[in-house]
Structure formats: C-alpha cells, structure tokens
C-alpha cells in the first residue's frame, strides 16, 4: 500500500515519546497525521458510495447481512485488510493508529463488513502466533501464510470467541480437542463443541478456535469443512450479525499452544476492544453530525428546533463527550502502536468511555429526531443497535472499569 514508508517514519517519531513511560509527561501523539487523514478520505469515499443508509438498512433484512462485495473492495483495493500485516507478507505494515482511523470510518457508516473480526481480532491473533515460532520461520508458518491471504483480500478470518468476551478473561473452554491423526506429515486434530454469539464469523473462510485439551491451544478450522456449522443468530445489531458455531469432529491444525495461545487470544481481544472503541467514536461522531444537520432544518413553532436552548445544550454536552472519547480512543491506539506499557489501562479506559459515549450519542440521535428518529426508515435505530451491541462486545464498560480499578489500585469494598 502507498505511504507505508511514511507510516513507519511516523511510528519511529513517536517511539521517543513512548519511552517517557505510561503516566509520565511525554504522552504519545494523539493527533491525526496527514497520512491518516488521507487514508480516512479514501475509506470514506468508498463507504459514501457503497454503504449509504438505505443500502445498509435494506441489507439487514436479506440473507446476506455482510456486504462481501464492499469488504472485498475495502480489503483488496483500499488495503484495509492488511493494515497490520507486515510488508513482507503483502500488508501495509501500518500501525494501530491507521487501523483505528479505518475503524472510526466503518463505525460512522455502520458498514456491515468483517473488519473487526478479520483485520483486527484474527490478524492480531495470527501475528502473535507467528511471532511465537522462531523468528526466521515466522512468516513461513501456517499463520504467516494465512496472514498473506488476509492481506491480499482473498481470505477472511474470524476469532471464534463469544462477542462479549472481556480481554484478560480466558474464554470459557467450550470446544474440546479430540483425537489427532497425521496426514501428509501434518497433524490434524478433531474439534468438537460450540461457541455462541461469534461476531464476523458468517463471512469468514477460516475460523481461529480456542480449543480445550492438554494443552490448551489455538486451532485453525476451515469454515467449509464438514462438521462445521454456523447458525446465523437473529441479532440485536444486524449490521454485525452474530452466529452460533458448532463443531463436530471438525478437522483443525494447531497454530499456537499453551501460553502462546493465551497470549494470542489476549492480544487479539485487547486490540479488538481498542479498535471497537474507535468504531464507537466514529458512530458517536456521525450520530452527532446527522442530528445537528436535522435540528438545523427541522422547524417547529416557526423556528429551527436547534435554536431552542434545551436542544442546543444537549448537543453541546454530546460534542464535549465526543471530544473526550476521541482523546481516550487516540491514546489507546497510540499506546498499542508504540507497544507502550500503558496498553492495558489505555484500552480499558477507551472501551469504557467510548461505549458510554456511542450509546449516549445514539440515544440522543433518536430523541432529538423526534418521531422520525423512532421510525424504521430513519437510520437512527441502526446506530442505537450497533452502539448497544458494541457496548457489550469485547467487555462492557463496567467490566473495563473493573479492570481499570485493578490496574490503578482502587480496590473494591471489602467483603
């Protein structure tokens, strides 16, 4: 992808600031670089063209709730799928700063594409698994090969964990590893069990499944194998439709084992929570923008409703909340990009704050549109549903605040 040299330049420039330490005076750069702004424009122009409200709304009532055509354009042409993938594997070698900008744009349009599941959760898990093997073999490994396919946009992957999974809590072991056979020099394991409420698994070609056994591991399963059943769930948010996954002696290869598997899942969930926070920021911004445009042109009592102080003050408060959420989201993206030791705190803070803000913005969007905001034809309910679903995804605000309390030594009440 163009501009990757500029991306690494940017990352180096920020390295020095990160070394000042987590809470110290040298906070990392939280602004948007020129390069990021260009990336934002490229993504936005595709989404404006292909993910308008009426198209997104109509798709929620079809059998194909994920827009695979749009995802292919974003993945293969714009390069969104390979942002985090190293250049050696055909990716952009970009950082979480750029990834967060794409997440913001996808949140703005509530686009039904598996960016979070494939380009963030699965990609980060695969990167972690690949780096766990010897450095010289990392990119030649099975995870490395799959990363190249993801970056090229020829494959889509998902991490098979329940969407509400909180980073740091090992997902409930609901898949068991059965007998293994050796075929063509490779060990093939058989997985049996189920995982409920998995996000972005419906359009996935490959599933990364945490499997319980001795030892615990992360397994790679092709979604089209016999023994793999994905049952679409009627979801609160049909722009990110969940499914329940059932495996019955499904053939799988192991890509990480024991602590490496734990590390891969934890890294994926943390990065996922931060990028979901960026998505929530985008949702909140768009909900505010759309609402502002509406109250300026909607007349009641012979004045724009946006001229009433009761409305102005609510929108001013919402704008303030969005500016706060943006700082939290950018800080988390910057910490992830720099490998800062403050990542756990930054992610917990961002997900807690952005969850609340996106929900507030969506609720204000409904209320300040009045009757039309409650109608099916208006997109406000898409934001309400996405915001509510995202506020539960990858850890609720409450769970992230509980994590934060532990990190900053604010212990709970005794007994």
């Amino acid at each position: 992808m163009e501009g990757s040299a500029a991306v690494s330049e940017h990352t180096r420039a920020n390295g020095a600031a990160a070394q000042d330490g987590a809470a110290g005076p040298g906070l990392p750069d939280m602004t948007y670089s020129e390069h990021e702004t260009e990336l934002r424009s490229a993504v936005r122009s595709v989404l404006e063209d292909r993910a308008g409200f009426s198209a997104v709304l109509a798709r929620t009532e079809t059998a194909q709730t994920y827009d695979t055509g749009l995802w292919h354009t974003l993945a293969a042409e714009v390069g969104c799928a390979g942002l985090l993938v190293p250049e050696e594997l055909g990716g952009a070698g970009a950082s979480f700063r750029e990834t967060a900008v794409v997440a913001e744009e996808l949140g703005r349009s509530v686009a039904p594409v598996p960016f979070l599941g494939s380009a963030v959760l699965a990609t980060v898990a695969l990167l972690s698994a690949a780096r766990a093997v010897a450095a010289e073999e990392a990119w030649a490994s099975a995870p490395g090969a799959l990363l190249a396919d993801l970056a090229a946009g020829t494959m889509t992957a998902a991490l098979a964990v329940p969407f509400p999974t909180m980073p740091g809590n090992r997902p409930e072991p609901t898949v068991r590893v059965g007998s293994s056979v050796e075929a063509d020099g490779e060990v093939v394991y058989q997985l049996t069990g189920s995982v409920t409420a998995v996000a972005d698994a419906l359009p996935a070609d490959v599933l990364l499944v945490p499997g319980d056994g001795v030892p615990y591991g992360l397994y790679l399963v092709r979604a089209d194998e016999a023994g793999v059943t994905r049952t679409p769930a009627v979801s609160l948010d049909m722009t990110r439709q969940l499914c329940d996954l059932t495996l019955r002696d499904a053939p799988a290869s192991r890509i990480a084992v024991g602590p490496h598997a734990d590390q891969a899942v934890l890294a994926a969930l943390r990065a996922g929570a931060a990028m979901l926070a960026a998505e929530q920021l985008g949702m909140a911004e768009r909900a505010l923008d759309v609402t502002l445009a509406y109250v300026k042109q909607r007349y009641q009592f012979a004045r724009p409703v946006g001229s009433f102080q009761a409305i102005k003050h609510r929108l001013a408060d919402l704008w303030v909340a969005v500016t706060q959420a943006r700082a939290a989201s950018r800080y988390a993206a910057a910490c992830l990009a720099d490998g800062d030791q403050d990542v756990p705190l930054a992610v917990a803070l961002a997900k807690a704050v952005c969850s609340d803000t996106a929900l507030l913005a969506a609720q204000e969007m409904v209320q300040l549109h009045g009757g039309i905001g409650f109608s099916w034809e208006h997109p406000a309910h898409l934001y309400l549903k996405r915001a509510k679903s995202a506020s539960i995804g990858l850890g609720t605000a409450d769970r992230h605040r509980a994590a934060l309390a532990g990190l900053v030594d604010l212990p709970a009440a005794p007994g």
Binding site: A22, A23, Q309, H313, A316, A413
Partner: protein, 398 residues
C-alpha cells in the same frame, strides 16, 4: 519547519546559559534577576523584541522555562499574577499603544505590578455587555463611576483592566470603552466579598469619581467590546492550558483516602470513584491532545469544552470526597473570614473543595453560557434570540 525549531531551541538554551553565566541565580537579587531576564528577551519568547521576547513561536517558551527551572533560578512568581499574565498582557499586546506596552508590560511580567480585572458588575454577570459603570470624558481625562463585583486579587493588585460604558444611547455592545486603571487612584474602594467557603477570595470594587487619563485607554472609544472579547478568549486559552500528571488535581485527594481507608469503602462508592478516576484521566488526555493540536498548528475548538468538563468533574469529585469521608466530612477546618492572595481550588479540606468547586461552573463563564458558545460557534446552531441587540442601552428593561 521542525528542523528550524530544533535549531532555535538549541540557540535559546545557549542564550539562557549565557544569561545565567552573567547573572548568577544563586547570588543575584530576585527582582534584579527577573528584570534582567525580561530585558534579555527571555521572559516570554513569543512577545516582540524589546518587550521581553524575541518574536518566536509560543511553543518554544517551555524550552526557556525548563532551562531556568533546571538552574533553580529566581522566578517572577507568575502564580501571583495570573490575570495580568494570562489576560491583561495579551490584550495590551494586541490593542495597546507602543507607549502603553513599554510602560506596562515589564512591571507586569516581573510581578512588580499585579493586575486584576474589573469586568463583572452587579447587573452584568453572564450578560457582560450590559455593564453600567460609566466613564464620562473630561478633557484629557475620563471620570468613572460605578461598581464591579467578583474581582479576584483586587486587594493585592496595583493595576486593573476595566470596561466602562461611555455611550448609553448606543446599543449595549457599541457604547463600551476599555481602560487600564491604577488601583491606588482616589475613589477606588476595594471591599472583600465573602463567599460560601467563609473566606473572601473575591472583592467588590466601588469606583467613585475615579480619574483615568485618556492615555490609559486601551483601544478606540466605543471599541471596548472587541477588546474585552480578546481578553476573555485569552482567559479560556489560559484555563485550557492547565496541565497535571495522572491522578493529579481534584481526584488525588479521593484516590489517596480510598487507598488509606478500606473501612470507608462501599460497592456504590467504588463504582463512583472508578468512574470519576476514568473521567479525570480522559479529561487530562483530552487537554494534552488539545495542546498537541495547537503545537502542530491544528487549533481545535475543543478548548471551550475543557472548562465545561473540569467544572463538572471538580464538583462531582469533591461531592464524592465529602461523602466518602463520612463523619470527617461533617467537619470544616475554619469559617473565619480571611483574604487569600489568589484562588485555590484544592486547599484545606474536603468541605472546602466541595464548596469552592461550586464556583467552577460560574466563574469565567457559566457552564450554561459555555454550552451556548459551543452550540453556536462550534456546532453552528442558531444563536439565542436577542431582544436587546439593536435598542439603545439606556432603554433596556432592568
């Protein structure tokens, strides 16, 4: 651009080293030291040469400050003159005559002259442009009569910035004129204004036949509103520039008490303190992000929101702290009337913080007025209906 700045920063460090070699910070008398620093153009580097600066980008000031701090050099005690430095000085720089800048800026920066701000009046709080303090021309002088209120530091100030009404026949924004006044002038009377905390951080200032030379007028006759707006914009920049470390500020007291007193914890209070801690940290990050945007020339309108956030947060945290303390929260250090030199949001005890924080959403623009500003100037929503905009000031209902 960045390379140029880097070279200049190194140059500045060299200048400070040379200055320190010529003025030993250990032995030079404090006022002599800070006057010399002003004369060397190392006071505020973004000010023009000859007025304490070198016409450099504002961002370079921290380089100079860091060098002087590292040398443990005597300071001008800027915390005593926040209004002078933050509001009066940029206004004088923007609207003052060459003679006024020459006369006022040096003693202002060195702290020899503390400034206060005579803006709010009993009938003009949020509606500042409605102020009634009259100035009437008398040859080369003006005669001023009226009353000002909520004036910080008036009891220690030697000069003030002052807005007056010079033409009551014009609509309210058009008939105002801006001055600087000597607080020792005959007819200036400062009385303490006791506040809810028991002390008098603020004052009422009564002006009775106070004579101000026309040479002390800042800006044109009738231009007082534009000059005042510049002053108030600087106030918000100053408020937004406040910086502290993680868990600094108001949350520090509650966090410490929480850790030291497990017996005070309840599940409900736990939820609240974690929410407040998170909000305080996010507010700190947002402030830092705002400074980063300013530094790379992307000034954002977020500054207006920073004060809204800090006012609400200070109140919620202080309210929490008193409740957390329980029995101790019922006690108060001292109700004796005192006149502190400056504002203190945190001083003394939790009860003080609880009471003092109530002023945060009123002083420097009420939260309601700030929401109007955000709604109108940032979000582009229609402005409030103005019944008083075009009528002569003297005919307005009051």
């Amino acid at each position: 651009m960045l390379d140029d700045a880097a070279i200049t920063a190194e140059d500045l460090r060299g200048q400070v080293r040379d200055f320190l070699a010529a003025h030993d910070p250990e032995t030079t008398e404090r006022m002599e030291f800070v006057r010399a620093r002003f004369d060397a153009g190392l006071a505020w580097v973004h000010y023009p040469p000859g007025l304490g600066g070198q016409g450099l980008p504002r961002t370079l000031q921290k380089v100079v400050d860091a060098e002087f701090a590292a040398a443990n050099a005597p300071t001008s005690r800027p915390e005593r003159n926040a209004i002078g430095l933050g509001m009066a000085a940029p206004t004088i720089l923007a609207f003052g005559t060459a003679e006024q800048k020459e006369r006022w800026l040096r003693p202002l920066w060195t702290g020899e002259e503390i400034w206060c701000q005579l803006f709010s009046a009993p009938g003009a709080g949020s509606d500042l442009a409605n102020l009634a303090t009259r100035a009437v021309r008398d040859g080369d002088n003006w005669i001023v009569n009226g009353q000002k209120v909520w004036t910080s530091s008036a009891h220690v100030a030697s000069r003030a910035i002052l807005v007056t009404r010079t033409n009551p026949d014009l609509p309210k924004h058009q008939g105002l004129t801006y001055f600087s006044v000597d607080m020792k002038s005959p007819g200036v009377e400062v009385r303490p204004l006791r506040q809810a905390t028991g002390e008098a951080e603020f004052n009422e200032v009564f002006l009775t036949d106070v004579v101000i030379a026309d040479a002390d007028r800042i800006g044109a006759v009738g231009e007082g509103w534009q000059v005042s707006t510049a002053t108030l914009n600087n106030e918000r920049v100053a408020l937004g520039a406040f910086t502290f470390p993680r868990e600094g500020g108001m949350i520090s007291f509650s966090a410490r008490t929480w850790r030291e007193h497990p017996e005070l914890r309840t599940p409900g209070l736990h939820d609240r303190i974690v929410r407040l801690w998170a909000a305080a940290e996010v507010s700190r990050l947002a402030g830092e992000r705002l400074r980063q945007q300013l530094a790379v020339g992307q000034p954002g309108p977020e500054g207006a929101g920073a004060k809204l956030v800090s006012a609400k947060l200070n109140q919620e945290i202080a309210d929490f702290e008193v409740e957390l303390l329980g029995a101790e929260g019922l006690r108060y250090s001292d109700w004796t009337m005192r006149r502190p030199e400056g504002a203190d949001f945190y001083g003394r005890d939790a009860g003080y913080r609880f009471l003092r924080s109530k002023g945060n959403s009123i002083e420097g623009g009420t939260s309601e007025i700030l929401r109007n500003i955000v709604a109108e100037r940032v979000l582009g929503l229609p402005s409030e209906i103005r019944l008083d905009k075009d009528k002569p000031w003297k005919d307005l209902p009051r």
